[in-house]
C-alpha cells in the first residue's frame, strides 16, 4: 500500500456538526428516523471510498438540569442498530459504533459486537468510551459516575475480557472475519492517550491546526512505540468539518448563513447543555450567572469556571457569550474554502505527518456529505491520494492493517 494515502471516516452524529445545521434547507431532520436516509448516507460514504462510518453516542437524553431542549436536534438512535442496518445495504464500508465500557458488561459487549462482526462480514469497529457525562449514572441505577481513573482501569479489564470472549466465539464458529471488531479510541487526557496507545487501532482527536495535529500524532506514535506496538499500525484521524463554496468568499458566506440559522434561544440551550446547567430562565442581555452555573453544574467545576470566568469578568452578556460559544466549536478544524483548497489542505496535513486521514463531520446532513463526496473526493482521487476502489471487504483491509491482529488490552 502507498503510504501517502488519505483515509476517510464519516462521523455522523445525528444531524450534522453545527447545532443549527438541522434547519438548513438541505438538511433532512426527519431522515434520522428513516431507513432510506441511512441507505443514502451509506451509499454516499461508499461512493467516497471512506473506510468507515462512525456514530458517536451518549447514554442520556439531551438537556440540562432536567430540562429537555426544544431547539436542538435529538434524540440519537442506537448506533449499533443504525450501523448494522447500513451494513445490510452496503458491501465495503466499515461500521464503527461508540459503546461504553462503564455501562455494559464484557458479556453484553462480546455478544453484541461478535454478532455485528459476523453479520457485517468483518466490517465492525468499536469506539471505546468510558462515559463522561454525570447525567448517565441515574439511567443505570447509580447516583454518580465512577471517577475517571477508575473508569479507565475498568475499561482496560472490560476490553481484555471482551477480547477473550471474542477469541472463544471465533473458535466456536461461525468465525469472526477480523477476529474481533477493530478497536477505536478518542481519549484526550493522559489516561485516555495511554489507554489508546495500548489498545486502539484507530484514534480520533480534535486538531484545530496542522501543528496541533502533528503534536498529537507524534505524541500518540511515541506512546504506541513505548508499549511495544508498531506505530504504523495505528491510524490517527483528526476531526474535520467544512463549509464549501465555488470561491473562498462564497464558502464564508455559506458558513455565515448556517450560523445565522441559530437564534439566541438555541444558543442558550446549547450553552446550557454544554455547562450542564439550565440557563433558559435567564435574561440573554444580562450577566453570565456564574454562581448559579457553578452551584448547579454536574461537570467538574474547575473546568467550567475556566470556560466562563474570562467572559464573565469582561461583562459579556449571557446571550452574546452563548452565541460565541456555539459559533466556535472547541478544538475542531472547520475548513472554509473551495473544494480544490480543501483537497490541498488535506494533502498538506497528510504530508506533514499531522494525520493518517480525517474524520469528516459534515456541517449538516445529508447535504454536507453530498458536497464533500461530489466535489472533494474526485480531486483527491485525481491526485492519487484517495483510492478509487476498495482493497478488500473488511474494515481492516480498508485501514491497511494486517488481516487479523492479536492486540489485546
Amino acid at each position: 500500500m502507498m503510504d501517502n494515502q488519505i483515509h476517510l471516516w464519516a462521523f455522523l452524529q445525528g444531524i450534522g456538526f453545527f447545532p443549527s445545521g438541522w434547519m438548513h434547507p438541505r438538511a433532512r431532520p426527519e431522515g434520522v428516523f428513516a431507513m432510506d436516509y441511512y441507505a443514502r448516507v451509506a451509499a454516499l460514504a461508499e461512493q467516497g471510498r471512506f473506510d468507515a462510518i462512525v456514530f458517536g453516542d451518549q447514554l442520556q437524553s439531551r438537556g440540562a438540569g432536567g430540562r429537555t431542549p426544544e431547539r436542538m436536534a435529538m434524540p440519537t438512535l442506537d448506533p449499533v442498530s443504525l450501523l448494522t442496518a447500513m451494513a445490510a445495504v452496503t458491501r465495503h464500508i466499515g461500521l464503527v459504533a461508540t459503546v461504553s465500557t462503564t455501562y455494559n458488561t464484557p458479556e453484553m459487549l462480546a455478544e453484541r459486537f461478535g454478532t455485528m462482526e459476523r453479520i457485517t462480514g468483518g466490517r465492525s469497529g468499536w469506539n471505546i468510551v468510558t462515559t463522561a457525562h454525570p447525567a448517565t449514572a441515574p439511567n443505570f441505577g447509580e447516583a454518580d459516575l465512577p471517577p475517571k481513573d477508575e473508569r479507565y482501569r475498568h475499561a482496560k479489564d472490560v476490553v481484555a475480557k471482551a477480547c477473550e470472549l471474542w477469541a472463544a466465539m471465533d473458535q466456536e464458529g461461525p468465525a469472526l472475519p477480523q477476529g474481533r471488531p477493530v478497536l477505536v479510541q478518542a481519549g484526550q487526557s493522559a489516561d485516555g492517550r495511554d489507554f489508546a496507545a495500548r489498545t486502539a487501532e484507530a484514534i480520533f482527536c480534535p486538531a484545530a491546526t496542522i501543528e496541533a495535529g502533528i503534536d498529537f500524532r507524534n505524541d500518540l506514535r511515541a506512546r504506541v512505540a513505548d508499549v511495544g506496538r508498531n506505530p504504523d499500525a495505528v491510524r490517527i484521524m483528526p476531526g474535520l468539518s467544512c463549509v464549501l463554496g465555488g470561491t473562498e468568499e462564497e464558502a464564508r458566506s455559506n458558513h455565515a448563513a448556517i450560523l445565522d440559522l441559530a437564534d439566541d434561544a438555541l444558543g442558550i440551550e446549547y450553552l446550557s447543555e454544554s455547562l450542564c446547567c439550565d440557563l433558559t430562565g435567564f435574561d440573554p442581555a444580562g450577566q453570565i450567572p456564574v454562581d448559579t452555573i457553578l452551584a448547579q453544574t454536574l461537570l467538574p467545576k474547575a473546568d467550567i469556571a475556566r470556560a466562563i470566568t474570562p467572559a464573565a469578568e469582561k461583562g459579556t452578556p449571557l446571550g452574546e457569550f452563548a452565541a460565541h460559544f456555539m459559533r466556535h466549536p472547541r478544538g475542531h478544524n472547520v475548513f472554509l474554502g473551495t473544494p480544490e483548497q480543501m483537497a490541498e489542505m488535506m494533502i498538506a496535513w497528510r504530508d506533514a505527518g499531522a494525520c493518517d486521514g480525517f474524520t469528516l463531520q459534515p456541517s449538516y446532513m445529508p447535504g454536507g456529505l453530498e458536497d464533500f463526496v461530489e466535489q472533494v473526493v474526485p480531486i483527491l482521487q485525481a491526485r492519487g491520494r484517495l483510492r478509487t476502489e476498495y482493497p478488500g471487504s473488511t474494515l481492516r483491509a480498508s485501514l491497511g492493517l494486517p488481516a487479523r491482529e492479536t492486540v489485546t488490552a
Binding site: 426527519e30 431507513m35 437524553s61 449499533v80 442498530s81 440559522l261
Partner: protein
C-alpha cells in the same frame, strides 16, 4: 378487519448470523408468508438477536422481526434504545420476547416494565421539526420516567424516540413464561394453558395438519401457529407450501405489524394509544 391467521417461527441456528445464510432464511420466511420470525429462543444463545433484527430490517418488507432478549445479559436502557431504532428502520415491524432463564425471579418482568416506562417517556407527537420557527420538539411531551423496580432503576428520559408501534409487540413463550398480564402474543403447547395475551399461537411441528389447525382457529381456540425451526430455509419452504393458504387473507402491505395482526396497544401497558408520528417535511432532498 378479518381476523388474521398468524404464522410464526423461531430461528436459533448460529449460522443465521452469517450474511448469506441469514439472507436465505429471511427470504424464505417472507416467501412462506410468515408474520413473525422470532430470533433466538429460550435455552439457546447463538447470537445477539437485537443486532440481527437491525440487519434484517432493510432486507425484509413484511416480516415481523422479534428479538429474544436475555434478562441476564441486557439492560432496559439499551434494549429500549435498540428496539426503538429498529422499529423506525423497519417501519413498525418490531417485536421482543424477554427470556428469563438464569435470572432471579421477577427480573424479566422488571425489564419489560422499565423499557415500557422509557418508551412512554416520549409522547406520540413530540417531534415538530419546524425549520422556520426553529422548534425541533415539544419538550412538554418528554418525561423522565423515574422507573424504580426491584432490579432496574432507570431515571430517563431515554435518548430514543417512542417507537412507531408505541411499544414493540411483546411475545411471551409459555415454556419460558414471565408474569406479564398484558402481553401481545403468547406461544403455548397443546395441553398447557397459554399465558395471558391478546393472541395465542399454538406450537406445532412442520408436518402438523393445516385443516385441523384451521378448524381450531375458526373455533377461536388459537390465533395461529408457531414453529420451532432447526433447519430454517428448508423448513420454511415446507411451511409456505403447507400453510401458505391460511395466511392469504391479510396482505395489507402498508399497515404496521400491530394493525396487520390485530394487536392494539394494551391500555394497561402504554400511557398512549399509538406510536411516534414523524411530521411530514419539505426538504430539498432527492
Amino acid at each position: 378487519m378479518t381476523r388474521p391467521f398468524i404464522l410464526s417461527a423461531s430461528v436459533a441456528e448460529a449460522s443465521f448470523a452469517v450474511p448469506d445464510d441469514g439472507l436465505t432464511v429471511l427470504r424464505a420466511a417472507e416467501d412462506a408468508g410468515l408474520d413473525l420470525l422470532v430470533m433466538g429462543r429460550a435455552g439457546e444463545r447463538p447470537f445477539d438477536a437485537q443486532v440481527l433484527l437491525a440487519w434484517a430490517a432493510p432486507v425484509t418488507s413484511r416480516l415481523g422481526l422479534v428479538a429474544t432478549v436475555p434478562a441476564t445479559n441486557a439492560h432496559p436502557f439499551h434494549v429500549a434504545r435498540a428496539l426503538s431504532a429498529i422499529d423506525f428502520l423497519s417501519n413498525g415491524r418490531t417485536g421482543w420476547s424477554v427470556i428469563p432463564e438464569g435470572a432471579p425471579d421477577g427480573m424479566a418482568e422488571d425489564m419489560v416494565g422499565a423499557a415500557r416506562a422509557l418508551w412512554d417517556g416520549w409522547g406520540s407527537e413530540t417531534l415538530i421539526l419546524d425549520k422556520a420557527s426553529g422548534r425541533y420538539l415539544d419538550a412538554s411531551k418528554v418525561q423522565a420516567s423515574n422507573y424504580d423496580g426491584p432490579f432496574f432503576k432507570v431515571a430517563g428520559p431515554v435518548n430514543a424516540m417512542r417507537p412507531p408501534l408505541g411499544h414493540p409487540v411483546l411475545v411471551v413463550d409459555g415454556e419460558a413464561s414471565i408474569a406479564i398480564a398484558d402481553a401481545d402474543i403468547a406461544l403455548f403447547v397443546d395441553g398447557a394453558a397459554a399465558p395471558a395475551a391478546t393472541k395465542r399461537l399454538l406450537k406445532v411441528a412442520v408436518d402438523a395438519d393445516p385443516a385441523g389447525l384451521r378448524a381450531r382457529f375458526d373455533a377461536g381456540e388459537i390465533d395461529g401457529v408457531h414453529f420451532t425451526l432447526t433447519d430454517g430455509a428448508a423448513q420454511l419452504a415446507a411451511i409456505g407450501a403447507r400453510f401458505g393458504s391460511l395466511v392469504t387473507t391479510h396482505a395489507d402491505a402498508g399497515a404496521d405489524l400491530r394493525q396487520r395482526l390485530g394487536l392494539p396497544l394494551p391500555t394497561t401497558a402504554s400511557n398512549q394509544p399509538g406510536g411516534a408520528v414523524i411530521p411530514a417535511m419539505h426538504s430539498e432532498f432527492a
